[in-house]
Symmetry: C2
Subunit: 152 residues, 2 copies
């Protein structure tokens, strides 16, 4: 049984892209934390707000599709954002199964306060924008291939 050199052993933690992604996600979270604390948001809540700042009045389902999250995650999260007066949840009148999510004036206003966040993250990454964009595109392509496999 030929022993592989450590740098090629696929069962080693440091050789796994998945752990790289997993640990990078946590590192991002820790950088975001103090920035989002000032807005009173957690990172997943911030993601929901980003979606709503682009387009308002969406059903829960559609927010879930954009963020790859299901109602088990979103329902309580949206209730917390509603309790913080950032959005309102209303049953659709055309289709009573849907709950539509609409920003309150405070929810809209928060977009301005959040404007500096991406720049702070960029600074922390100590990386050229062009490099980050290239990396992002690669990671998104990988994610989409993985998600395609799940659907099989």
């Amino acid at each position: 049984m030929a022993r592989k050199p450590a740098t090629l052993d696929p069962q080693r933690l440091d050789n796994q892209i998945c752990f790289a992604v997993y640990s990078a996600a946590h590192a991002f979270n820790r950088v975001y934390k103090p920035l989002l604390d000032r807005l009173g948001l957690t990172y997943p809540q911030y993601l929901v707000m980003l979606v709503l700042w682009e387009r308002d009045d969406l059903p829960v389902k559609e927010i879930g599709e954009k963020l790859f999250l299901d109602s088990g995650t979103l329902t309580p999260l949206l209730k917390r954002l509603e309790a913080a007066h950032l959005l309102k949840r209303t049953r659709s009148r055309e289709d009573e199964r849907q709950v539509l999510i609409a920003l309150t004036p405070q929810g809209h206003a928060l977009k301005e306060k959040a404007r500096s966040v991406p720049q702070s993250i960029l600074a922390a990454s100590k990386c050229a924008v062009s490099e980050l964009v290239a990396m992002k595109d690669e990671i998104v392509a990988l994610r989409d291939r993985l998600n395609a496999v799940i659907g099989e």
Copy 2:
């Protein structure tokens, strides 16, 4: 106020590398799930086992440093792995503050059963190994820069 084109707006979800990483981590998790179910492990538990398969008899602290996790996460997770008879937790005799984690025979044996996991992930990623290695190195470098900023 010059409106940026959508492809450059840093406040757009699709332009954020962080969301790419966040959603890729979840996609990986979903691909791992059925593979790890057969081993009776969750993904974070699998990470701990990877660490211990490389080196046994580690204090909780050291496992935490390798995985970027703290005792609040690890203590209950390790207790569950102990309940599954995969490892044993023992207070160090030289330093009673430390708890040493050692694999049981079953814990060691699981390494063989887990050997095929990385290959299945590789297949799901539909990507050349060389490309994945390059991506992994970039992501690790980014992660380490982010973690360096946090320590400031």
